[in-house]
């Protein structure tokens, strides 16, 4: 890496703090002398600090990090979860750079996404009639993503059993790759869904789980961002925009909440 900076972790002091002060000065626009606050301005202006929820009484086994209650399932059953957990790890595996999809919580991310709006295609045009279209016309199926996952995961399981006499999550890594490849290349015969269409969604969802803000359940500890030197949610890059590459410790939207 060509990091010329002397300091390894200069982010907070060098980048965030000055910009935060500048933000207080600059934020907001004025009309007729009345300054209307920016998105943070209104928060900063707030005085009353409600006492935070009382700290849990200290116990002897109090963990250093609070338990992550987000890590439970809203949509998948256990078998589905283990297939997705294994499959996404093959797409984005653990290596010398750092954790893979499994450690980053990608399968939890996908589970949570399918439980909501996204899984129901809530903001998409799902009205009939349905016709098979040209490729350039995009998805024309009537299945919602959660239904597609249900079917596809079962088909992955069936295909694994047929090829290797084992369930997908019990297969060796190379065998799992073969299954995924068969889906990617439409080498699996399925009448209900497009195997390659599903693979594309699974791949996209994997990257989303690796790189979305940790608030969604993936990108654990911001390690997805850290591996590629993406600093996440930062208020300002004014002080480095004309400078050579710099590693900045990542910050999440939760850090932003703490800005109160």
């Amino acid at each position: 890496m060509e990091n010329n900076d002397e300091h390894k972790e200069p982010a907070k002091q060098d980048v965030q703090e000055p910009s935060r002060r500048r933000f207080l000065v600059n934020a907001g626009f004025a009309i007729g002398g009345v300054v209307v606050g920016g998105a943070l301005g209104s928060i900063i202006g707030r005085k009353a600090k409600e006492p935070a929820a009382p700290e849990p009484a200290p116990t002897e086994e109090k963990p250093a990090v609070p338990a992550n209650y987000n890590r439970a399932l809203m949509f998948f059953n256990q078998e589905q979860f283990s297939i997705v957990d294994a499959a996404t790890e093959r797409i984005f595996p653990k290596d010398a750079n750092g954790p893979g999809a499994k450690e980053l919580g990608v399968a939890f991310f996908i589970d949570h996404q399918l439980a909501g709006d996204y899984g129901f295609n809530g903001r998409e045009y799902m009205s009939p009639p349905y016709f098979k279209g040209e490729k350039v016309q995009g998805y024309q199926g009537h299945l919602k993503r959660r239904e597609m996952y249900d079917i596809a995961l079962q088909e992955m399981e069936n295909y694994s059993q047929a090829q290797f006499q084992k369930g997908f999550s019990q297969l060796a890594g190379e065998q799992q790759d073969e299954v995924l490849k068969a889906f990617e290349e439409d080498a699996v015969e399925i009448t209900t869904i497009s195997p390659s269409g599903f693979f594309k969604i699974l791949r996209s969802n994997t990257l989303e789980g690796v790189y979305s803000d940790p608030l969604y359940g993936g990108n654990a500890n911001m390690d997805g961002w850290r591996m590629r030197n993406y600093p996440g949610n930062q208020m300002s890059f004014t002080s480095i925009i004309d400078k050579d590459f710099k590693t900045i410790a990542p910050s999440s939207l939760q850090d932003h909440m703490a800005a109160k």
């Binding site: 890496m1 903001r123 998409e124 350039v136 024309q140 961002w225 993406y230 925009i241």
Partner: protein, 571 residues
């Protein structure tokens, strides 16, 4: 039964850039204006949690809910149009400020050639240079005539830039200095200068410094946070209607905004319009708003669809080439691009601003000789640094695996080691590219969806390849170790994101035979109806459209005030 409200002077349909500008100008001129906006209200405070790529960039939080309304698409008239069920090729803005909220802020002026493309092409290359099915037209207004309105828009928005050495004449410099140059941009400038090209800083609505505009609106400087396109600006630094023109209109006390109000018909009597009928989407009630003047200021599809649903103007007929409403739909040829991979350097690709970049216009418009080329026009070429957010930006060398260990390693390695140089190709209009009402698919009210019929032509395929080649040469000169360039454009598909620069359908021109509106955006067929926006572009240029939309809106506002006193078609 629709509830009928008292008459107002002017009703505006859609409160984005065009609607906001016209509202501010007309209310300053003393008129009472009602603005009907189908989406929700928006304000800067909404963007507290805006640095969220998944929510805004991938799940389209600021865009129109497609379950309620979308468009249908087919490549040609022989196949069945099907609904765009999910977002892809372009995004449809929604809510107060419209697309002016989620834009990048790249604010160009079109070239003088753009406005007189047909006559200037024939003049230089002869009639045969234009294929018979290419329906490009002069705008009925020249660059010089439109220049003062560009100037006005730039001053209102505080555009930061330096002069384009190959652009049209300017009456004034940009109101604020250019944005800060990043090391990648410096490389582009050095390379293109060495190649004897003419680099200049991308004109930016992101604001290089704190600025107070002629209306007295002050805005903060851009912080280069890397979240512009698809996002709202939490600083109010990016010019958007909500932080510029709308508060000016509101301050007059003469502008009433009604959000959640979806206009469904323009009401008319003979060759005058009398108001609009809209549905209050919170109650489902139909309401009639009478007005002396109606102004359509929605996105392209909304403007054209309303005209067709209301039976105003003659619908375009592609088999005869007659009629005007829906004619000359055009787009943007954006895929002519290259990616350079740098093994020995890293860049702060995560930082940036929507309109942070450098351009050359040496291959745009008719700035170069087309005698031996199989296309006309061209496109601007730029290196922009808009903030490479990690879900949607994973450049890897072409042909390498797209998942698994090698993909992971490459995508991490090149996240800050890849730079793109892209061409923004112009899009010419063709006889068989048009908008009309879909015979099958309906919106949530049962009204027909807009149907678009469009594909790329030989012109586009040649242009994309040409621009990609030039982009590749620049990247090599910049020192890239490996360059991947587009090889073939392929057919137009509605699945991959390309550009939200859809144009045409209610085009501007010098005659009612061939166009829908005059150069004041006034309907030839109904003189108290104005249709403002990119719907009036007879074809699309090699630039982002917003600067021109803004200029046309200022000119339309002037036309409306003239019409108000004198009546008739504004000369």
């Amino acid at each position: 039964m629709a509830t009928k409200l008292p008459k107002t002077d002017v009703v505006i349909v859609g409160v984005g850039w065009a609607g906001g500008i016209i509202a501010s100008e007309l209310t300053k001129g003393g008129l009472n204006v009602v603005g009907l906006e189908k989406g929700r209200s928006r304000k800067t405070e909404d963007y507290y949690m805006v640095h969220d790529e998944l929510r805004y960039g991938v799940r389209y939080d600021l865009m129109q809910d497609l379950s309620k309304e979308t468009v249908t698409f087919r490549s040609n008239e022989k196949i069945r149009a099907l609904p765009m069920r999910q977002y892809g090729s372009f995004l449809i803005g929604d809510g107060l400020g419209g697309s002016g909220v989620h834009w990048n802020g790249q604010t160009y002026r079109f070239l003088p050639y753009d406005f007189e493309i047909r006559s200037k092409t024939i003049e230089r290359y002869g009639k045969n240079k234009i294929p018979t099915d290419m329906t490009i037209l002069d705008w009925g207004i020249t660059y010089d005539k439109l220049e003062p309105y560009y100037d006005k828009f730039e001053k209102m928005a505080g555009i930061s830039g330096d002069e384009n050495p190959l652009g049209g004449k300017r009456s004034n410099p940009y109101p604020t200095p250019p944005m800060i140059k990043s090391p990648a941009m410096v490389k582009f400038v050095e390379a293109t200068t060495k190649m004897k090209l003419h680099p200049y800083m991308m004109p930016s609505a992101n604001l290089s410094e704190t600025y107070t505009n002629p209306d007295g609106i002050s805005r903060a400087a851009c912080q280069y946070c890397g979240y512009c396109e698809r996002f709202g600006c939490e600083y109010g630094a990016k010019a958007d209607p909500v932080v510029t023109v709308i508060p000016v209109a509101k301050k007059t006390g003469k502008f009433e905004i009604r959000t959640h109000s979806q206009v469904r018909r323009i009401l008319h009597n003979g060759n005058k319009v009398t108001g609009v009928m809209y549905t209050d989407v919170t109650t489902g009630k139909e309401i009639e708003q009478p007005a002396d003047i109606v102004v359509l200021t929605g996105y392209v599809f909304n403007n054209v669809r309303l005209l067709l649903m209301s039976g105003i103007g003659k619908p375009y007929n592609p088999s005869t080439g007659t009629g005007v409403i829906g004619k000359n739909y055009a787009y943007q040829v954006i895929k002519g691009a290259s990616v350079g991979f740098f093994e020995k350097e890293q860049f702060n690709n995560f930082a940036g601003a929507g309109a942070l970049g450098v351009n050359i216009d040496d291959y745009n418009g008719d700035n170069f000789d087309h005698s031996n080329l199989k296309f006309i026009h061209g496109g601007s070429i730029s290196l922009s640094q808009t903030g490479q957010r990690p879900i949607l930006n994973n450049p890897i060398p072409g042909g390498s695996p797209t998942w698994g260990p090698e993909f992971k390693n490459n995508s991490l390695k090149y996240a800050n080691r890849a730079l793109s140089v892209g061409g923004q190709g112009s899009s010419m209009s063709y006889r068989h590219h048009f908008l009309d009402l879909d015979p099958t698919y309906k919106d949530t009210f049962g009204d027909p969806l807009m149907r678009l019929t469009f594909d790329f032509e030989d012109q586009d395929r040649e242009l994309a390849k040409f621009l990609a080649g030039k982009c590749g040469e620049i990247l090599k000169e910049m020192g890239a170790n490996h360059v991947d360039s587009l090889k073939e454009l392929g057919p137009y598909d509605i699945v991959t994101y390309q550009s939200t620069h859809n144009t045409g359908g209610a085009i501007m021109g010098s005659s009612p035979e061939t166009s829908a509106v005059n150069s004041y955006s006034q309907m030839w067929d109904a003189d108290n109806l104005f249709v403002v926006g990119a719907s009036s572009f007879p074809q699309n240029a090699g630039y982002n459209p917003t600067g021109t939309v803004g200029a046309l809106a200022y000119r339309a506002a002037e036309g409306i005030l003239k019409y108000r006193t004198k009546g008739g078609l504004v000369e």
